[in-house]
């Protein structure tokens, strides 16, 4: 197919959108309602181009190239049209003194600011119009600020197309069109999983996490409190992005130094309790396997996934591992074992988590395990705190985590990527069952960004069938297949967010396919560079069992490390 773009001839061998064709010619067309992960929608019209012979401009995201087409991506008409549309968008974006760019959650990652720059808007001649809608603060995880919403539908589409959760929708018509939840009930009162994918998708500051920063500052400055912090595996490969680092730059040890500078009394690692999770979960799996227990076993680390299942597939609740997530296990161990060790009363200890996740903010207040964790910061919030404290993260001297809750294995690190929990569990399960050492620790078949992965692993002559799903849409697909009897598995890992925790709703923005791949690569780098790569070989975990828990699935373990679920449908 021969196509002319701005008077130059190009040849394409397949049908594609004008947007993609133009991109391959290294010309950038501004977009706003477009997102690589979503079906093109054609509503913002900023990507409109002029096509010879056509009466009106055509949106390049939804218009296909045809042979002989002559496209003008930045003609006078196009530039003038884009500029006016952009002015109108800015005017309806609710920027007044209280809602301005300086205080916005997206001040450092604002997409409409970037687009406005690309389009070259130099003035806004139309007066600002506010929609007068109030904040939605009903959720433990996510805040909506509808005054900043430009109704691009990306959150609605992400929630529906990728996550299949469908809690956001468009209401009303014309100037009153707005994004809302079912019956305007608010994010906290509908079937929201708190995954935060809507936040990642939002090009403005209309969606952000419920901030815990102030409460953490207060705790740190309270001399009466012993404040400890745990950091999730996926945070270390993303936080550098907030300081201009390349996606996938591993900044674990600088982050540890930064956390000490912030004033935390101890800096620990969620990876420690990820190892603990594997000990419990792998043994739970073995027990169910041997005793004809409920299979397949579903992982329980991702609180977004848990809530999704409770709302949509309560019939599968018995398939869920009863293991608490690593975040909660950490809190439970810290406030008992560790507090005892130091002789600190439980009430004086404050446990803060740094998570790539917004659903963790909800998980911490679940009645089944309330009190384990006090505050949850997202990766973005931690970066804001570092900035506020003047911490130049990437130039800090590297420091090590505190012991013993800072010691972990490579198996724990890979929890950060989709497939990681499965791989970590298999490493331990294999060696516990067979008593032999694994020759190759890398289970490549469960790695990678793909939505649904399957593998069959021979353990002691038995073929164990496993699957890995990331993104709730894929979770639904796998559950439906199991329900219809089309698939039989023994063990399935589910993660609410595409890519797993590296793509979590609390991660730096943008989180696109490119950053996901780089973060994932870094996760496996962390794993392969560690001396210990199997959870059951973590010496601190061994000591924990010797001194405190006894053995996996012991009474003590059940009391502290296991939980229950509720049907929410």
């Amino acid at each position: 197919m021969k196509v002319k773009i701005n008077n130059r001839e190009y040849e394409f061998d397949k049908e594609m959108s004008i947007l993609d064709a133009v991109k391959s010619a290294h010309i950038k067309i501004p977009t706003l309602c477009y997102s690589e992960k979503l079906e093109p929608f054609g509503s913002c019209r900023l990507c409109s181009v002029e096509i010879k012979g056509e009466r009106t401009l055509k949106p390049s995201c939804v218009t296909k190239i045809t042979d002989g087409m002559e496209i003008y991506t930045h003609s006078d008409r196009v530039r003038k049209t884009r500029k006016t549309i952009m002015e109108l968008i800015i005017a309806s974006h609710g920027i007044d003194c209280n809602l301005n760019c300086l205080t916005c959650s997206k001040s450092g990652s604002c997409e409409i600011k970037e687009v406005a720059e690309e389009i070259g808007v130099t003035e806004v001649r139309v007066p600002p119009i506010s929609n007068g809608l109030s904040k939605d603060e009903s959720s433990y995880s996510i805040v909506r600020e509808p005054q900043k919403c430009i109704v691009c539908n990306r959150c609605v589409r992400k929630c529906s197309e990728v996550q299949s959760v469908n809690i956001l929708t468009i209401a009303n018509r014309g100037p009153d069109t707005y994004v809302t939840t079912f019956m305007d009930k608010g994010m906290g009162n509908v079937d929201c999983t708190n995954c935060g994918q809507c936040i990642l998708e939002c090009p403005t500051g209309a969606l952000h996490e419920v901030y815990h920063m102030e409460r953490v500052w207060d705790a740190i400055s309270d001399e009466d409190k012993f404040v400890i912090v745990q950091t999730a595996p996926a945070v270390r490969v993303a936080i550098a992005e907030e300081f201009g680092g390349e996606p996938g730059k591993i900044a674990t040890k600088q982050m540890v130094a930064g956390l000490r500078l912030l004033g935390f009394d101890k800096v620990f690692d969620t990876n420690f309790s990820a190892d603990l999770t594997i000990m419990e979960e792998a043994n739970e799996f073995l027990e169910r396997f041997k005793d004809n227990g409920k299979l397949p076993l579903f992982t329980s680390c991702s609180p977004g996934w848990i809530k999704f299942l409770e709302h949509n597939y309560p019939e599968f609740i018995d398939n869920l591992s009863t293991c608490k997530s690593p975040q909660q296990m950490f809190g439970a161990v810290a406030k008992t074992y560790y507090a005892n060790k130091l002789g600190i009363p439980r009430e004086k200890m404050v446990v803060v988590s740094v998570m790539p996740c917004t659903a963790k903010k909800y998980e911490r207040v679940r009645p089944e395990m309330k009190g384990d964790v006090d505050y949850v910061l997202t990766t973005r919030e931690l970066a804001k705190m570092f900035k506020l404290a003047g911490i130049d993260l990437l130039n800090l001297q590297e420091e090590e985590y505190d012991e013993p809750l800072g010691i972990s294995s490579g198996a724990a690190a890979i929890f950060g990527a989709t497939g990681g929990v499965m791989e970590a569990a298999l490493r331990t399960a294999y060696e516990v069952i067979t008593g032999k050492e694994l020759e190759n620790l890398n289970f490549e078949s469960v790695r990678g960004i793909e939505g649904i992965k399957e593998a069959t692993v021979a353990i002691d002559g038995i073929n164990v069938k496993v699957a890995v799903a990331n993104g709730l849409g894929n979770a639904r697909r796998v559950l439906e297949m199991i329900k219809k009897g089309e698939k039989e598995y023994h063990f399935v890992e589910f993660m609410a967010c595409p890519g797993g925790c590296i793509g979590g709703g609390g991660q730096p923005i943008p989180t696109n396919n490119e950053t996901l791949n780089k973060r994932m690569q870094a996760i496996y780098e962390v794993d392969s560079s560690l001396p210990i790569r199997k959870s059951h070989e973590n010496p601190a975990i061994k000591v924990l069992y010797e001194e405190f828990l006894g053995e996996p699935l012991s009474e003590k373990s059940h009391e502290l490390l296991h939980t229950s679920y509720v049907a929410r449908s």
């Binding site: 509503s43 019209r45 949106p59 109108l88 005017a91």
Partner: protein, 404 residues
């Protein structure tokens, strides 16, 4: 030449109405029906003016088990009431047209989507559909022809944008009344993803009339590019508002106002909105134009839906601009940015101008830039044409200060 609409069918019973157009069609076969409609030169009477025969032929030529015909009776353009006239006075002809359209396109299912506020029209059509089923003019093996056709009435919920065919299709499917991205055009992928022809009430009534004759008198009426007749609904400052049938090219707009509608009510003519509020106004100096598609286009305006609104010189043009811009602000579906935000902002600006009594040059600049952007980039015909009238008013009356 005879007028075709205003003399027939009024008050006829089902026994008296002969369905001769439908019978002729069923005898001729779909391709011959299409040829006859093509030959007649009939263009869509909803506003866009696309040749009806070509539309039918496109759907006819698509091989598909399921196809749909939709009669667009969601008439909502302020000042336009000719569809209502047809629905309430010539319902047989309208329904006959729908069945013919189904036969010609190879569709076995039809919908008539009537504006919800047209309670009387809905009542009439509903009752008549039942009767047609009883008399085997609808249903299986219509009039023993081998052709089966089912027709369902859908009542609109009150959104002007549903007059846009893709919004109307969404509405029938139970979705929000918002426009779809084109392509695909509804003739290829319309209702439930199947080939669908959407025709206006007046178009279908005209088609039924055309099919009544062995010869083709319709093509002899009007001009080369504007064949046949057009129902014009005249309202505003005229002495005899109402629906009039005009043969294209036979009268000027001035003559329509004076000879048919009894002349201007008031001192003198201010301006005319010739085809509903999506069309550009014509000033008193411009109304000596022959009523045809081509002549109005030359004047920078349009036949539109045929809803002619006459405005006397005493009226405040800014008040009309305000009403119209408020209307479009409220009625945009809100999906595409230029239309939603553009109409919202224009309405605010025009409201400011109305309060002040005159526009500033800065405001005129913004209005024309917004109009340029919206008409270039909006997603459907609603947006594209939503600012035509406003801008033409300011173009033509900008220097005229209005007393407040």
């Amino acid at each position: 030449m005879e007028k075709i609409f205003l003399k027939t069918d009024l008050g006829k019973s089902i026994e008296e109405y002969e369905f001769s157009g439908l019978k002729n069609a069923l005898r001729m076969g779909p391709q011959n029906v299409i040829n006859k409609i093509k030959e007649s030169g009939l263009r869509g009477r909803g506003g866009a003016g696309f040749p009806t025969g070509i539309k039918w032929e496109t759907v006819y030529s698509i091989k598909n088990d399921t196809k749909f015909v939709i009669c667009n009776a969601d008439e909502g353009e302020p000042g336009t009431f000719k569809d209502r006239f047809l629905l309430e006075n010539l319902p047989f002809k309208v329904l006959e047209g729908i069945i013919i359209s189904g036969y010609a396109t190879g569709s076995n299912y039809g919908y008539i989507y009537i504006r919800g506020e047209y309670v009387e029209s809905i009542k009439i059509i509903k009752r008549l559909i039942e009767k047609l089923y009883e008399k085997n003019v609808l249903g299986k093996n219509i009039l023993d022809s081998g052709f089966s056709f089912d027709l369902k009435l859908v009542r609109g919920a009150g959104a002007y944008v549903c007059g846009d065919e893709t919004s109307l299709i969404n509405s029938i499917e139970g979705d929000r009344g918002k426009s779809r991205i084109k392509p695909p055009l509804p003739v290829f992928e319309g209702l439930y993803g199947q080939p669908t022809v959407v025709n206006n009430v007046e178009t279908l009534a005209a088609a039924a009339e055309i099919m009544k004759y062995d010869n083709n008198p319709y093509k002899e009426m009007g001009t080369e590019r504007s064949r046949g007749t057009k129902l014009v609904s005249i309202s505003g400052d005229v002495k005899k508002p109402g629906v009039y049938e005009v043969e294209f090219g036979s009268l000027t707009i001035k003559e329509i106002i004076n000879d048919l509608a009894g002349g201007v009510q008031g001192e003198k003519l201010g301006f005319v909105i010739p085809g509903g509020i999506s069309t550009e106004v014509l000033t008193e100096e411009e109304v000596n134009v022959s009523y045809t598609y081509e002549n109005l286009q030359e004047m920078g305006s349009n036949i539109g839906s045929g809803g002619m609104i006459v405005v006397s010189a005493e009226r405040n043009y800014l008040e009309i601009a305000k009403n119209v811009s408020d209307f479009f602000r409220d009625e945009t579906c809100g999906t595409c940015f230029p239309c939603r935000e553009g109409n919202k902002n224009i309405s605010k600006i025009v409201s400011d101008i109305y309060k002040r009594g005159y526009p500033t040059s800065k405001e005129i600049e913004i209005i024309s830039d917004i109009k340029y952007a919206v008409s270039s980039a909006a997603r459907c015909g609603f947006g594209e044409s939503s600012l035509n009238l406003i801008l033409s008013l300011f173009d033509k009356f900008y220097n005229k200060k209005v007393k407040v």
